[in-house]
């Protein structure tokens, strides 16, 4: 435990404001997985999953899966006297969800890595949509590990205390999260879509980004849908070939010279039909990579929405200030530019007393000053947000381009290995046919 204490200190020290130059460094460093982040000091993995049964909050029996998170100090930790024994603890998917929500609320300017899907989506017929299906649990385990690694390699998120707590202490974590009061910070307006917010001066970059993430969302989900259908059909093509296996072997029984060749060619056809299972299982990994970026689009949109909200507040404050200033001007000059009830009453009942005017003016002055403070504050908030958010978006874009390119390469490699398998099986079969 002492070990982790020191780690935590290191982590906290790291949590200083980054100058732009430093953060740029950071962006580049995170491209190489082990940058200056937490991953430098700690190895993290989700080692295994286990099925458990227990009672839920409404006292109903339920079966759920828990995941074993293992952490251990990285070997290059300076105070390395103690041997690196992995520390481990169990977490449920809902714990991960809470962590992600916490991160999204607390770091609204960051594109927070998404979790793997809650329920299997874009499945093709042979794939189980059951949450307790071992293949699904395994893919989710990989996805959760990936999530932790992404957070741990993030220049900002990796230094979060709650995150560290999540990794290192099983007990009391949920309480600690709730204690941060992050839930109060959840702006209800963020949820009720941005349609109601009419921002007058939208930031073009964010508008474009939002548009892009919408597009990306549509195209990736379309891609995943079609891919599932392609997988379905490919599966069919291979499996129907398996029927040759049976019929060749039956046919071989009535043949003399051809018999042996047919029989063994039949075995190759069986092999061919069976090979598709592994091929498609491997391809599911590619689908998961795409899904991650499908879910990333939500994170990007959430940052855009947050920006809109801040921009909206700034504009509201500015509008309010302008209004007050106009009032003051009216009061000072005595002119009423716009027809108003107040103007009418003053005309009908004569001018207010000097005293009344003075006190109203003073109150307005006060209010204007407050308004100016507010606008200034909102302005800084907005500028800060834009700066930090854009920094993270740049980082995200880099990461996305790199990841997806790698995913495409590994997809192509997968296709090549499928072709090679196909060539191999058909060459074997050909040899048998030739012997007939």
């Amino acid at each position: 435990m002492a070990d982790f204490g020191s780690n935590e200190e290191v982590a906290v020290i790291g949590n200083t404001d980054l100058t732009s130059a430093e953060s740029e460094n950071n962006i580049i460093n995170t491209m190489v997985e082990r940058g200056t982040s937490l991953l430098n000091k700690m190895e993290i993995n989700v080692a295994e999953a286990e099925k458990r049964t227990g009672k839920n909050t409404v006292n109903m029996q339920e079966t759920y899966t828990v995941y074993l998170i293992e952490t251990r100090p990285a070997e290059n930790v300076p105070e390395g006297g103690t041997p690196a024994i992995p520390d481990s603890l169990w977490r449920r998917y809902s714990d991960f969800e809470l962590l992600k929500t916490y991160l999204m609320v607390t770091y609204s300017y960051i594109v927070v890595p998404p979790l793997p899907e809650k329920r299997a989506e874009f499945v093709w017929h042979k794939l189980s949509a059951d949450n307790l299906d071992p293949d699904f649990v395994e893919r989710r385990r990989v996805g959760l590990e990936n999530f932790l690694l992404r957070v741990a390699s993030h220049p900002v998120l990796s230094n979060d205390k709650i995150f560290f707590h999540f990794l290192t202490e099983e007990k009391g974590w949920r309480e600690a999260v709730l204690e941060t009061g992050f839930q109060d910070k959840v702006d209800p307006r963020l949820k009720s879509l941005s349609a109601m917010l009419r921002v007058k001066n939208p930031d073009k970059r964010f508008t474009a980004l939002k548009h892009y993430s919408d597009e990306l969302n549509i195209v990736i989900s379309q891609l995943l849908r079609v891919r599932a259908r392609v997988a379905d059909r490919l599966y069919g093509v291979y499996k129907v070939h398996g029927n040759y296996g049976r019929v060749f072997s039956e046919w071989s029984a009535i043949e003399k010279e051809m018999g042996d060749g047919l029989q063994s060619a039949g075995h190759h056809m069986d092999t061919y039909a069976a090979s598709i299972d592994d091929i498609l299982e491997e391809e599911e990994h590619y689908a998961d990579q795409l899904k991650e970026y499908l879910f990333y689009t939500d994170a990007v949109r959430s940052v855009c929405r947050k920006h809109e909200l801040i921009q909206y507040e700034l504009e509201m404050a500015a509008q309010d200030l302008a209004h007050k200033k106009q009032q003051k001007e009216e009061l000072v000059t005595g002119t009423v530019r716009v027809f108003s009830l107040k103007g009418m009453t003053s005309k009908l009942f004569g001018q207010e007393s000097q005293e009344q005017r003075e006190s109203r003016l003073a109150a307005l002055e006060q209010s204007i000053q407050e308004g100016e403070e507010m606008v200034k504050e909102k302005n800084t908030e907005c500028q800060d947000f834009v700066r930090t958010a854009w920094e993270d978006i740049e980082r995200f874009k880099e990461q996305k381009n790199r990841d997806l390119r790698e995913a495409l390469i590994s997809y192509a490699i997968m296709q090549i290995s499928m072709c090679k398998k196909g060539i191999q099986v058909w060459s074997n079969a050909k040899e048998c046919f030739n012997k007939m």
């Binding site: 195209v219 891609l223 093509v237 390469i409």
Partner: protein
């Protein structure tokens, strides 16, 4: 040219011309794909399949010009082909090609060019070139069956096609039928007995095929067999013919299954192709909204498209080369069963007469009538012919299926090789781009 090689040519229908060993057949093959040459020589070949003008092609002029050209081709070929041709023992070569559509007020039909080269003395000329339509082939087959009842007659492609479902004049249908007719005629010409049948001679050489008169003498032979319909129960079919019957039953069942599987695969492949095409499209539409990823995504789309092309080709080849052979063998089995049945009938006839004769012999001690002995001879002759044909058929079948299945494997290998090449070139593209990026980063 060995017998096997000739059959190989017929079966695959896709072997390059260079593999045909005999000069005569090679010359013939070279003739067919050159309509422009024909225009120069005969001046009457411009009527293609599509324009539907009836063309009289068996005029003396075209026959002699063709003859001259063939001579020329033979000479040209002699140098290159002779070493191979020296091993040749066959002397009758037939080819069916060049389909033409004929439109008259009464009917529309297709004729095919039937070219013959032979050194047999039964033929007056070494070369013939006639045009025949499907019903002429049908006539030939019926004549062969009647005049040679003890032999296995190769099958013709199905006569009836469902109207509306199949377009009888579509290029695809005509092409498939032409290949099947070619196969039929080659099989007949390869047969040691059938190839000497006078009807075949007439079919190959007569300018006008007089179907009604055509060698009426010989048609009688078959009828005696036909008359013996049923009535007698076989005492015992010899075991070897029982085995043949059983074999044919099982084999036709398996062929049916293979045919169903092959068709199912084609269906699955066509559905796969549909989805795959859309898959490629999604990648390219994604590419449109990306900057750095544009080229990689377009690359993936391109590879998927290449795979689509390769798949389409595979399916096309399979449906053109694989399925027709299966069909032919299904029909072949029917012919074989027919001959088996006729053999049974002739055995039954013999046994019936023998029984009657024995009864009579017991009564009045007359010697065994001559016709009973004739019947016995016939059965024995039947058995011998059938056995010989059976052996031929078995060895043909073995060759054909060896070639058919090897071809299937080759087509699939070819498909995968094309896909592999497409994906490999994509990887080269993606990795090049990556190193490019890295160097630009360090710069």
């Amino acid at each position: 040219m060995s017998v096997g090689a000739a059959r190989g040519l017929a079966t695959s229908g896709q072997k390059p011309i260079a593999e045909i060993l005999h000069p005569l057949s090679a010359a013939e093959e070279q003739l067919s794909p050159g309509p422009d040459v024909f225009v120069n020589v005969g001046g009457e070949k411009e009527a293609g399949l599509t324009n539907g003008t009836p063309v009289e092609t068996s005029s003396p002029a075209s026959a002699s010009s063709l003859f001259n050209r063939l001579q020329l081709d033979d000479d040209l070929d002699a140098d290159t082909r002779d070493p191979f041709a020296s091993t040749e023992t066959r002397d009758l070569f037939v080819t069916v090609d060049d389909p033409k559509k004929h439109v008259s007020t009464m009917e529309t039909y297709i004729t095919y060019r039937v070219s013959t080269k032979t050194s047999r003395i039964e033929f007056n000329l070494p070369d013939y070139c006639v045009r025949r339509r499907y019903q002429d082939f049908d006539w030939l087959r019926i004549k062969l069956e009647d005049s040679q009842p003890t032999h296995l007659i190769p099958p013709l492609p199905e006569k009836f096609v469902m109207k509306g479902v199949v377009d009888r004049f579509s290029e695809e249908f005509v092409e498939t039928r032409m290949k099947a007719l070619d196969k039929f005629l080659k099989r007949v010409a390869d047969h040691p007995v059938l190839s000497f049948n006078p009807h075949l001679n007439a079919f190959l050489s007569a300018k006008d095929l007089n179907k009604r008169q055509g060698l009426a003498l010989l048609t009688k032979v078959g009828e005696s067999v036909k008359q013996v319909a049923g009535g007698y129960k076989l005492r015992a079919r010899p075991a070897e013919f029982c085995a043949m019957g059983e074999y044919l039953d099982t084999f036709s069942q398996k062929l049916g299954t293979i045919d169903r599987i092959a068709q199912r695969i084609l269906r699955e492949q066509s559905e796969y192709l549909t989805e795959l095409r859309e898959y490629g499209t999604v990648y390219s539409s994604w590419a449109a909204s990306e900057e750095e990823l544009q080229r990689p995504l377009e690359g993936v789309s391109g590879s998927v498209t290449t795979c689509c092309g390769a798949l389409e080709e595979l399916s096309e080849n399979m449906s053109q080369d694989f399925l027709p052979v299966l069909r032919e063998y299904v029909l072949y089995i029917e012919s074989m069963k027919n001959v088996l049945r006729k053999r049974d009938q002739s055995q039954a006839e013999y046994e019936g007469r023998l029984e009657a004769a024995i009864l009579r012999k017991q009564e009045d001690r007359t010697p065994m009538p001559v016709e009973v002995e004739k019947c016995q001879d016939k059965v024995e002759c039947f058995n011998a012919d059938l056995k010989a044909d059976w052996e031929r058929w078995q060895s043909n079948k073995r060759q054909d299926f060896k070639q058919l299945l090897t071809g299937m494997a080759d087509k699939n290998i070819n498909y995968y090789e094309k896909c592999q090449a497409a994906w490999e070139s994509l990887i080269t593209l993606l990795q090049d781009k990556q190193t490019e990026d890295k160097t630009s980063e360090t710069n």
